[in-house]
C-alpha cells in the first residue's frame, strides 16, 4: 500500500516514542493506587507529585495549580461550569463563537439550564476577537471570560495578553484560556490567566490526559465528585501513569518549540505558495496566525467530497475540528469570520507537525491540484 501522509496534527498526534516507552514501563511496574499507604502506593504518589511539580515548573505556575484531567474537553468543562457553580450570584459569561465545542456547549448548557446570559464576542475577518470588545462586554455580574489562544480550525491568534489585562484590571471576572492548540507551539505566559486548559495528545502525548491550570485563589466546584484526589477538584483514582508522563510530554514539546516554529513556518510558506498557484483556492487562515494550521476553501467542491478524495489519494486530513467532523454543517468558525455559506462548506484544514516533510507538502499540493482539475 502506498505510504499515507498525516496532515491532521491539530486533531491529534502520534505519541512520542520516548513517552510511549516510559508509559508502558510505568503501567507494568507502577500499577498501585496512588492513594494506598503501602510503599508501592506511596511511590506512585511521590512520582505523580514529582510530575506535577515538573509540569508546573515548565509552565511557570506552582504545583498546587496543576490539576490532572482526562484532556481539554474535561478541563474546559470543569473550568467553566466549576467556576459558575462556585458563585451562582453572577450569571454572565463572555466567550467567542469560535471556541472549541467543549467551551461552546458548556456555556450553552449554563444558558439553557441555569439561565445564564452569554455574550458572544464579534469575530473579525482575520478570525480573531478584539480586546476592546471584551472591555465593552464586561459587566458587574460577569463571572467568567473564556477566550481560546489559538483557533483550532484556522490557527488565528487571539490577543490574550491584552484581554487578560483588561479582565484583571477592569472587572471581578475570572479569565479562562483554552490553550490546547498553543501548548508547545508558541510561548505561553500564565501571569494574570486564572484558568487554562492543555491536552497531551496534541503534543505527541497520550489521549485521555490533560491538565487544567487553576490559580489557587479561584473558587471552583468539582464536576466529578469523589475523594480528595487533585486537591478535591476531580474525583476518581488517578490515571497515574498517564499523569506521570504528562510532564515528559510537555518537556519534550517545549524543548522542540523553537524548532517546531521554524519547521512549520517553512512548510507553511511552501504550502501557501503551492496552493496560491491553483486556480480557485482561497486561504481562510490569517497571514499572522499559527503556521502549523492552514485552512483553505475550494468553493466548487464540498468539504466532505474533498476529504473523501484526499483520503483515497493517501492523505489523512480534516475539514474542521475533529470533534465536529461528523456534522455536515458548514464550519461555524468560518461563518463567524464572515465567510459565505458556500466557502464555509468547502473548507479543508491542514495541520502540521515536526514529522511532516517538504516532499509531503509538495505531494499534497499536487493532489489538490489534480483534484480541483478533475472535479472542479
Amino acid at each position: 500500500m502506498k505510504r499515507r501522509i498525516y496532515l491532521d496534527s491539530a486533531g491529534t498526534t502520534r505519541p512520542d516514542p520516548e513517552v510511549l516507552k516510559t508509559y508502558i514501563s510505568l503501567l507494568e511496574t507502577h500499577y498501585a493506587n496512588s492513594e494506598s499507604l503501602y510503599d508501592e502506593g506511596s511511590e506512585v504518589h511521590r512520582m505523580m507529585e514529582k510530575a506535577r511539580s515538573a509540569a508546573a515548573g515548565l509552565l511557570g505556575v506552582s504545583a498546587d495549580e496543576v490539576i490532572f484531567t482526562s484532556g481539554s474537553c474535561e478541563s474546559n468543562s470543569t473550568a467553566i461550569k466549576g467556576v459558575c457553580f462556585a458563585d451562582p450570584t453572577r450569571k454572565h459569561i463572555i466567550t467567542t463563537p469560535i471556541e472549541h465545542s467543549s467551551v461552546l456547549n458548556a456555556c450553552r448548557q449554563m444558558e439553557r439550564l441555569f439561565g445564564y446570559d452569554i455574550t458572544w464576542l464579534p469575530v473579525y475577518e482575520d478570525g480573531s476577537v478584539r480586546a476592546e470588545d471584551v472591555r465593552a462586554a464586561l459587566r458587574p455580574d460577569t463571572i467568567l471570560v473564556s477566550v481560546m489562544y489559538v483557533n483550532n480550525e484556522t490557527g488565528a491568534l487571539n490577543p490574550i495578553d491584552e484581554i487578560k489585562t483588561i479582565v484583571r484590571k477592569e472587572s471581578h471576572a475570572f479569565f479562562h484560556c483554552d490553550m490546547t492548540q498553543a501548548a508547545g507551539k508558541i510561548p505561553m505566559s500564565f501571569t494574570d490567566i486564572d484558568l487554562a486548559s492543555i491536552s497531551a495528545h496534541k503534543i505527541h502525548g497520550l489521549k485521555g490526559s490533560g491538565i487544567l491550570v487553576k490559580k489557587t485563589y479561584v473558587p471552583m466546584e468539582p464536576l466529578i465528585s469523589g475523594g480528595e484526589q487533585e486537591f478535591g477538584f476531580r474525583g476518581g483514582t488517578a490515571n497515574a501513569a498517564a499523569d506521570m508522563v504528562f510532564a515528559k510530554t510537555l518537556r519534550l514539546a517545549l524543548e522542540r518549540q523553537n524548532a517546531f516554529a521554524a519547521h512549520t513556518r517553512k512548510l507553511h510558506d511552501r504550502l501557501v505558495k503551492g496552493l496560491s498557484e491553483i486556480d480557485g483556492i482561497v486561504i481562510n487562515s490569517p497571514a499572522d496566525g499559527l503556521p502549523a494550521v492552514l485552512n483553505f476553501s475550494f468553493e466548487r467542491i464540498p468539504s466532505e467530497v474533498m476529504q473523501n478524495e484526499l483520503n483515497r489519494r493517501g492523505f489523512m486530513i480534516s475539514a474542521r475540528s475533529t470533534c465536529e467532523a461528523h456534522s455536515n454543517n458548514p464550519s461555524y468558525v468560518l461563518l463567524a469570520m464572515g465567510c459565505s455559506q458556500r466557502r464555509a462548506s468547502c473548507s479543508i484544514r491542514v495541520s502540521l507537525s515536526m514529522e511532516n516533510t517538504e516532499e509531503e507538502i509538495d505531494a499534497f499540493v499536487q493532489a489538490v491540484k489534480e483534484m480541483t482539475e478533475q472535479y472542479g
Binding site: 516510559t22 510505568l26 499507604l37 510503599d39 506511596s42 504518589h45 511521590r46 512520582m47 507529585e49 514529582k50 510530575a51 511539580s53 515538573a54 506552582s62 504545583a63 498546587d64 506521570m244 508522563v245 510532564a247 515528559k248 518537556r251
Partner: protein, 395 residues
Amino acid sequence: MADYDTVLIRYGELTTKGKNRKDFIRKLDNNIRGILREFTQLEYRRSYDRFYIRLNGADAEAVKEKLKKVFGISSFSFTERVDSNLDAIKERCLAIAKDSGKQTFKMITRRHDKTFPMNSDGINRAVAGYILQNTDMKVDVHHPELELRVEVHSGDTYLMSEKIPGAGGYPSGINGKVLLMLSGGIDSPVAAYELMKRGLDVEAVHFASPPYTSENARQKVLDLASMMSEYNQGRMRVHMVNFTALQLEIYKTAGDPYAITLMRRMMVRLAEQIARESGCLAIGTGESLGQVASQTLESIACINSVISIPVLRPLICMDKVEIIDLARRIGTYETSILPYEDCCTIFDPKNPVTKPTVKKAEGYEARFPYDKMIAEAAEAAEVITVHPQERESFL
C-alpha cells in the same frame, strides 16, 4: 544576534579586606566550580573584582539557574567578549540593540583600562550615535528599556545587556558549619536558607519515629534537604535519628502537658552531641517566637538550658507570612506542606504547657535513663548525603 560567550560575576558583600577578602573570593571560586561541575566545558578566570566563566557552548539558561543560587554573588551578566577597539565595540553593540527588539536604550560604559584612547563618556557617545544612525531606537537615560553595558579592559571588552541579581550574602562554608534541626515543616528549610546566606555550611538532623511516622515523611525531609543542597555547594549531610524509643518513654513518664518540652530537650541534647561529633560549632533551628507552645520564651529557655552549644535561630522574629513568602521563593513550600505526620504532630498533645519550668522538666527526666537512650540513638543515627535532584527518567 548577541553571541554570549562569557559570564561575568560581581562579588557580593565585599566589605572585607586583606586576607578575608582573599578567603571570600577563593571560597566563592570553589563553590561556583562545584555547583557547575556537570558543565565540563567551562573555563574559569578570576580577577581582583570580577570572576569570569567562558561558556564554550554550555547551555546559558541552565548555567544561569545554577548561579542564581550561589551565595556570595552580588549580580552577574551574560556577556559577549570583543577586542578592545572602538569599531568592534560599535558593531557588536548595534547587533545586541537590534536583537533586543526594544525601543529605547541607554549606554553605560566603564573604562577599567585607562590607556584606552577614549574615555567612558566618549565611548558612550560614539556607540549611541552609531546605534541611533542605524536603528529607529531612541536614547532614554531615565527609563531605558535596554541598558547596554560596556566594560573596557586591556585587550578584552565585555558587552552585556542584562544584570541578573545574585543571591547575595557570603560564600557557603566561609563562616564554618552548623547543624540544623530539620523537621520537614515550612520553617526549617527557610532557616537553612538564612544560615547558608551568612556563609554557613549546613548539615541537618532529622528525628523520625517509625512506625508512627511514614516512609513518605522521611522521603519528604530528604527531598527538602536535596533542594537546599543547591545553595550548599551542591550537597548536604542529613543525620537521621530514630526517636521512637525516647518518644514512647517520654509519653509513658510525663504524659500530656510536658511531653513536647521533654521531647525538645531530648532533641537538642542529641543535636548537641551530633554537632560536636561532626565539627559543627552551633545548632540551627527554625523557631519563631510564640509560634507554637514550644516556641514561647519560657519554653525556649527551658529547652535551651540543657545544652551549652550556641543555638542560631534566624527566623526568631519573623512573621509566619514572611516565612511562607520566603519558602515559596526558595521553592520548598509545596514540599513542606505535604501532609505527612512528623514527630511533632504525631502525638499532638491537647494541652501542651506554654510556660514550662526547668524544675518540673528535671523532675520527669529523673524517672528514666535518658542519657543512655540518647547515647544509643546518636550511635545508631544514619548519615545520608543528598545532592540536588537530577531529573528522574520518567520525567
